[in-house]
């Protein structure tokens, strides 16, 4: 085995080496961090590290280096642990200083009375895979990975468990890898992955069953129902203050799946009653120290916040290649064309949908979030499965998305806002605990007449708050706590939605196709995968571009507003100016311009005028109040 990989296979050895080297000085902690940071700087090297996202847990060796792409779901209390300790050996043997950092257990008797013992503090985060992550993102990351363990078995149903000999065998794993590449490519040629759900199922069941065969009584607390993948307890050693709940992180750390951790949990559940343990409820035990086979521990060595989770782009989205910028115009045109077809030939709606997909809360002015652009697509055909198909298509374009059918059952029954569970002492997740820039697709066509109960009203209020203020009030039972969020809300409805929205866009289908499923299927099949990938890059990259308005344009906008007010003071309000400014911003971004130009402003006004004329026309037609 090449020595290069030592730091991947036995990072603890490296840590201990550094510790021994800097024995007397406290510098060793920093040195360890520097070492790994240095190693991981190289994209290539980072890709050798196996990822918990796509490698089933049982393929990974305990105390090897792993990475995990995740969202911080909850933060547990800080822990004090034995950072450095001395072995308790019988007198003739010399006592040895050992390291307790980056581990869950000490591996020998500890002399806790020794003066060399150092107590340290660490924080644990409960991390879940990014909620609503699209399958193409998962596959994309899996393909990028060059980990020496068999990459991404998630779409190969379990055949056999590999023994240790096999794992060490280069010859054996090489063909596997190639085969994997093949299947990977095959997956790529089927970009719309109709088998998505099926594949997910086999993958997850395999992983879960293999993980422990544990009963499902232990809830993993994912924000969205039906989510798969490992949850992880990440132990953070440095600067935990800089992480926040709902942050999307890429964590590099040492995996710990010590079976002892699970043994303990079982014993506690049994009759072994410790006078201290009696105080902690069973639920709390379960939530805070679940079996390691189900919720592995990762001791963080290095982590950074992900700006986006698009595997087709480098981590910093702002570095878009100049070649790509040249293509922008054509990609935009293609995308508009594609969306127009998806929206049954409505070009104006396609423009607005594109703007919506690019929107992003880029700043907050006291309570007012700037840049949000919640879109209400009304006039969706109610009977057919159109909304579902529409969502499928959008899922292929964006990295994270979730669809909520706003049926009465869902509104009354689902948990939207996260809630603190004091018995288990953890934050019980809800649908609205989503990572930034997730597309939340609210399907109002499913809403029927009926009674909303108290929970339903709370859920509707939560959705309203989310759309208006981009914040979710987490329920801490004695008080509410406000968490700012950045979620793109798209509401598909028949009439105007009952929820507020920034922009109401009545859909005017030009060519109602006889069979929507077939139509959409054909549409997707006709789209070449390379172009699809360009769409994906386009949407992610442009969202985070810088943007400004020049002094001169400011003047012009002001003039314009005054003019418009003069002409029609009744219908133009401050809200309209707000909206037009957002539209102009998104429009400029969509063509890759970082400042507002006169043309864009005029075009934005034009778009708005077309849209409002359509909404007014509708109002007259349908005699809505």
């Amino acid at each position: 085995m090449p020595t290069v990989h030592d730091w991947i296979n036995s990072p603890l050895g490296v840590v201990e080496g550094i510790f021994a080297q800097y024995n007397s000085s406290p510098d060793w902690e920093q040195k360890v961090l520097d070492f790994f940071r240095e190693k991981l700087k190289d994209q290539e090297a980072a890709s050798w590290v196996p990822s918990l996202n796509d490698v089933p847990l049982h393929y990974l060796k305990t105390s090897s280096l792993v990475k995990f792409r995740c969202m911080v779901q909850d933060m547990f209390d800080p822990e004090f642990y034995v950072g450095v300790y001395e072995t308790a050996a019988p007198p003739p043997e010399s006592k040895v200083l050992k390291l307790g950092k980056y581990r869950d257990m000490t591996d020998c008797e500890v002399d806790l009375n020794s003066k060399h013992v150092v107590t340290m503090e660490r924080q644990s985060f409960y991390c879940v895979p990014i909620p609503g992550e699209s399958q193409w993102v998962k596959d994309g990351f899996a393909r990028c990975s060059q980990a020496r363990v068999l990459p991404s078995t998630s779409y190969m149903p379990q055949r056999h468990k590999r023994s240790h000999e096999e794992e060490d065998d280069e010859m054996e794993s090489q063909p596997h890898k190639q085969k994997e590449q093949l299947t990977g490519n095959h997956a790529a040629t089927d970009p719309f992955g109709h088998g998505d759900t099926k594949r997910l199922e086999t993958g997850s069941q395999g992983a879960n069953a293999a993980a422990s065969g544990c009963p499902h009584s232990l809830e993993l607390n994912f924000p969205l129902p039906g989510e798969m993948g490992p949850a992880c307890l990440v132990k953070v050693y440095e600067e935990w203050e800089k992480f926040k709940v709902n942050d999307v992180l890429e964590v590099y750390g040492i995996l710990s799946v010590d079976p002892l951790l699970s043994v303990i949990a079982e014993e506690r559940e049994g009759h072994f009653v410790d006078s201290m343990d009696g105080m902690e409820s069973l639920e709390e035990q379960r939530a805070h120290s679940p079996p390691a086979s189900l919720v592995p521990r990762v001791h963080m060595l290095h982590a950074y916040r992900l700006q986006h989770n698009n595997p087709l782009l480098p981590p910093a989205a702002s570095e878009v290649s100049s070649g790509f910028l040249g293509e922008l115009a054509s990609i935009r045109a293609e995308l508009i064309g594609f969306l127009t077809h998806v929206l049954l030939g409505d070009g104006l709606a396609a423009e607005y949908l594109l703007l919506h997909l690019l929107s992003n809360v880029y700043a907050r002015r006291d309570v007012l979030p700037l840049g949000k652009f919640a879109l209400n697509l009304s006039g969706c055909p109610p009977s057919s499965s159109y909304t579902e198909q529409l969502f499928r298509v959008l899922q292929q374009l964006v990295t994270c998305s979730h669809r909520v059918g706003m049926s009465l059952g869902n509104m009354n029954g689902l948990h939207f806002t996260p809630q603190k569970d004091y018995t288990a002492n953890r934050l019980r997740s809800g649908i609205l605990q989503l990572s930034p820039n997730t597309l939340l697709f609210l399907d109002e066509t499913q809403l029927q007449q009926g009674q909303l109960d108290a929970a339903g009203v709370r859920n509707i209020t939560a959705l309203g708050n989310l759309i208006s203020w981009q914040k979710v009030d987490y329920d801490f039972s004695y008080h509410q706590m406000e968490f700012p969020c950045n979620i793109n809300v798209l509401i598909a409805s028949e009439g105007k939605s009952l929820l507020p929205s920034d922009c109401h866009m009545p859909l005017q289908p030009q060519l109602p196709p006889p069979n929507i499923e077939e139509y959409m299927g054909a549409l997707q099949a006709a789209l070449p995968p390379s172009l699809l990938n360009k769409f994906r890059i386009y949407l992610t990259a442009l969202r985070h571009q810088e943007y400004s308005i020049s002094e001169e344009l400011t003047k012009m906008v002001e003039e314009d507003f005054v003019e418009m007010r003069k002409e029609d003071p009744q219908s133009i309000s401050a809200d309209d100016l707000h909206r037009t400014l957002v539209v102009a911003r998104l429009l400029s971004l969509s063509v890759g311009q970082s400042t507002l130009s006169r043309d864009r402003w005029v075009r934005a006004k034009h778009l708005e005028a077309r849209r409002t004329s359509r909404t007014q026309q509708r109002t007259i037609n349908s005699n809505e109040p």
């Binding site: 004090f80 002892l260 801490f476």
Partner: protein, 861 residues
């Protein structure tokens, strides 16, 4: 010296074992650590009383080493084992002599303090001996001398005791404002008065403010913080000596216990770190869960079934080592546990969560486990906000006794010594934020500087919700609302308290950023609540009774209004609120209380909240031809309780549009730094308001009172000329509140005429907007107070008169058709008469007993 307590495993911890906690290190502790039983005060007691409550003093004092055989730890340990040198035993050995009346230090039983870790014995080492050697050689223990310090610390018992006694005898705090000290003479030694109180009341607990101690003797304070486990028993001893010297005949339940509080060391749970282990800390937080009372066996009592020989065995790590052989008769397995003669102590686990104010944004709150012992059990309830002073502990977790591996994580908890509820003082009328919000001198200086500026009022009002454009007067009104008036309490003279809170109603066209303003205020004030009229019910606003699923106990859950006591309750869509919900507000807005009578709970809760409400006009757009009442359709009884009612209308004016556009556009392109600056502004504003609310309570000056009187008389005069009432005492009260609040903005203790001027101006502005009679153009207060403008009332009267005339002109017809009469009067009148107006007039006449209306006929009487 470097604090040995920074590592929980160093000697001190290894030696002082805690019977109720599993300790893994005892087994491996050096054999040279000689363990002795120590019990001095209760050595040869007569049989134990059966009530465990009075007999909780001794068990924990026994050592709990694994090595000590049951025989050695028995109560009947030979006297030679008594550690006479230990200063930490309560009383002297001779106090064991019973039979004297239970008074004086010797007679009064000491009470075990599990909160300190129950082993009170501490070893002393010679200060001059090598500290390192001390760890291995406990020989110095035997010697007694003044140079001795308690092992592992720099505490000398003698000096420590002396210092503390001196503190008690001499400490005077003339500036004390704590409510505990109410009724005490501030110029006499504070704690001596408290001791007297103990003598009278008989509650043997002395609460000591650590701040006082620090001011008096910083070194002693440091020792207390660093070595609470050793120092507090020393304090106890000192206090008891002093007390029984003074009051030798006093009879107490047990000896006095010292409970320090408000240690300045830590205030926030998030700042706890390994350095704090075994130190005295004070943290604030909210109780989220309390466990049932746990009777923890401290000592098991066994009796031989054969020979009735009795023995006591201490509980070690939750286990009882049952003696296999009776030492009396050598029978094996003949000993049976006698429950009601075993000793128990009360214990309760409390989960404490960070208070929301302490939390950085975007993180979830931390929790800590707190153990309350003995009389502190059940002192707090879930939901209480408390300051807890206690000792921070960390215990290694032993996963499995059969395995050598140790989980490398410590379990941490706090042994509570003192609870202090932060919201307790709601009962009294003191401003509580004084304690919650401490301002540094630097901050106060900045705030004072700001206050000294002549344009502070304008500055602050423009800092308020900068993203909302213009509406200067509304912002000013809200600013005054944030500061509030001065609270006056005349309840002693029977006049009751006067409301100090200012209520504001915003009404206006939809989309004029009313909600945004509300959101802003809600975010600005620490105790702001935001509800929407559409989504809230009466119970959501007030309080409701709910059955706790765990305890099956009825619990009163408080709603938004109670939660925003001393804060601002923002109610959006006020007009959409159901009538029953709104009716709740009547009491809150004037009396500032909430009465609840349901499910057997009858109570009155404080709800001293300002209300900031926003209402939309009934016909989506404001109709300038109608009065405020007609536009928003709210009962006038409620409207008259608002001090200020503002209209937020679209002015439809070009210059305004231009400024608005500029404002909005700049909102979108301002850079990060500018945002940062603004954020600072908000923090300053917050502090400024908190400071003013806490420390400034302006009183009316003579000049200001005159100005107010004049203003009121003027207001009355305006109307009297036209035969209507244009001001009511409520308006005068509003003016006073506004003037006081404006004085607060200036940090002035006196309300002066400029304050009155501004109050008048603002009040007039608000009235001009909301109480202008659209028919006449005059400001008419009766629109708000009676729901009808004076002109409208006059017209109503005129119509009634006209109708009466019409009927009289028809001669003596006893009955008329309703419809016909209506048509007649319409034909006769030159103004349009609606059906409503006609009905009104008929009702007025029937009230005069002139006619009655039955169905479609009108009969004369």
């Amino acid at each position: 010296m470097s604090s040995p307590s920074s590592t929980p495993s160093k000697g001190k911890r290894g030696r002082r074992s805690n019977p109720q906690t599993p300790r893994s290190d005892d087994v491996r502790s050096p054999p040279s650590q000689r363990r002795r039983t120590d019990d001095t005060s209760t050595g040869d007691l007569p049989p134990m009383p059966t009530s465990p409550a009075t007999d909780m003093r001794s068990p924990a004092r026994h050592d709990t080493s694994l090595f000590s055989s049951p025989a050695r730890s028995r109560r009947s340990a030979p006297p030679s084992e008594i550690d006479i040198s230990s200063p930490l035993t309560y009383g002297t050995p001779s106090s064991r002599v019973e039979g004297t009346p239970r008074s004086g230090i010797r007679g009064t039983q000491a009470r075990q303090r599990p909160d300190l870790g129950s082993v009170r014995k501490a070893r002393q080492v010679d200060l001059h001996s090598d500290r390192a050697a001390g760890e291995e050689a406990p020989a110095s223990e035997q010697s007694v001398g003044q140079k001795l310090v308690i092992w592992g610390t720099d505490v000398n018992v003698g000096t420590c005791k002396e210092k503390f006694q001196r503190f008690l005898q001499r400490f005077i705090d003339p500036t004390s404002t704590e409510d505990e000290n109410a009724g005490l003479d501030l110029n006499e030694p504070l704690y001596m008065q408290k001791l007297e109180e103990i003598n009278v009341v008989g509650e043997p607990v002395l609460n000591v403010n650590c701040g006082h101690l620090q001011a008096f003797d910083a070194d002693l304070y440091r020792q207390l913080i660093s070595y609470p486990q050793e120092v507090i028993p020393t304090f106890d001893m000192a206090v008891n000596e002093l007390f029984f010297e003074r009051f030798p005949d006093s009879i107490l339940e047990h000896q006095i216990q010292v409970r320090p509080y408000s240690a300045l060391k830590t205030r926030n749970m998030r700042n706890l770190n390994p350095e704090d282990i075994d130190q005295l800390i004070t943290i604030s937080g909210m109780v989220i869960r309390t466990s049932q009372l746990i009777p923890e066996m401290q000592e098991a009592f066994f009796r031989c079934q054969v020979c009735a020989f009795t023995t006591r065995v201490e509980v070690d790590r939750g286990r009882i080592a049952e003696p296999a052989v009776c030492r009396g008769c050598n029978t094996t397995h003949s000993l049976a546990l006698i429950h009601n003669r075993s000793a128990f102590s009360d214990k309760q686990m409390i989960k404490l969560q960070e208070s929301p104010e302490d939390m950085p944004a975007g993180q979830t709150p931390h929790t800590t486990v707190v153990y309350a012992h003995n009389d502190l059990v059940d002192k707090v309830q879930p939901g209480d906000r408390v300051n807890i002073t206690g000792i921070y502990r960390a215990m290694p977790t032993r996963l499995n006794p059969r395995q050598s591996n140790v989980k490398s994580v410590y379990r941490t908890h706090i042994d509570a010594i003192h609870f202090r509820k932060t919201d307790e003082k709601r009962l009294h009328d003191l401003d509580e934020e004084a304690e919650e919000k401490l301002f540094t001198e630097e901050r106060v200086r900045i705030l004072r500087e700001l206050a000294a500026k002549p344009d502070v009022y304008e500055r602050l009002s423009s800092a308020l919700a900068p993203s909302i454009y213009e509406h200067e007067d509304i912002k000013k009104g809200i600013l005054l609302q944030l500061f509030g008036g001065t609270r006056k309490d005349f309840s002693q003279t029977g006049r009751g308290g006067f409301r100090a809170e200012i209520n504001i109603l915003l009404c206006g066209d939809p989309g004029t950023s009313k909600s945004q303003l509300l959101q802003y205020v809600h975010n600005l004030v620490p105790r702001g609540q935001y509800t929407s009229g559409k989504g809230s019910s009466a119970v959501g606003l007030t309080a409701y009774v709910m059955k706790d699923p765990e305890t099956r106990q009825l619990v009163l859950q408080t709603g938004a209004l109670v939660l925003s006591d001393n804060g601002i309750c923002c109610i959006d869509e006020f007009d959409k609120m159901s009538d029953s919900t709104r009716s709740v507000l009547h009491e809150v807005m004037e009396q500032q209380t909430l009465s609840i009578a349901k499910a057997g709970i009858i109570c009155q809760l404080n709800a001293r909240t300002s209300i900031l409400a926003a209402a939309n006009p009934v016909e989506s757009q404001w109709n300038p031809k109608k009065t405020t009442i007609e536009n928003i359709q709210l009962p006038h009884t409620l409207l008259s309780r608002f001090d200020l009612i503002f209209l937020m209308l679209d002015p439809q004016d070009e210059a305004y549009d231009r400024r608005l556009a500029h404002h909005l556009v700049s909102l979108y392109y301002q850079s990060e730094e500018q945002l940062e600056e603004e954020f600072l502004d908000m923090a300053v504003l917050k502090d400024y308001i908190a400071y003013a609310r806490t420390y400034i309570s302006p009183r009316l000056s003579e000049e200001a009172s005159q100005a107010l009187i004049e203003a009121y008389v003027d207001m009355r005069k305006i109307g009297s000329g036209r035969g209507m009432v244009s001001a009511y005492p409520r308006q005068l009260e509003s003016l006073i509140r506004l003037a006081e609040s404006h004085a607060k903005v200036r940090f002035s203790e006196k309300v002066e005429s400029i304050d009155v001027e501004e109050a008048k101006r603002l009040h007039r502005e608000a009235l001009k907007q909301s109480a202008t009679d659209p028919r006449t153009g005059f400001v008419d207060i009766s629109i708000l107070t009676t729901g009808m403008s004076a002109t409208a009332r006059k017209r109503k009267e005129e119509l009634a008169v006209a109708l009466k005339k019409l009927i009289q002109s028809k001669g003596k017809t006893p009955a008329m058709k309703y419809q016909q009469l209506f048509d007649d009067i319409r034909g006769q009148s030159d103004v349009a008469i609606t059906k409503d107006m006609f009905d009104e007039a008929l009702r007025a006449l029937s009230d005069e007993d002139y006619l009655t209306v039955t169905g479609k006929t009108v009969r004369l009487l």
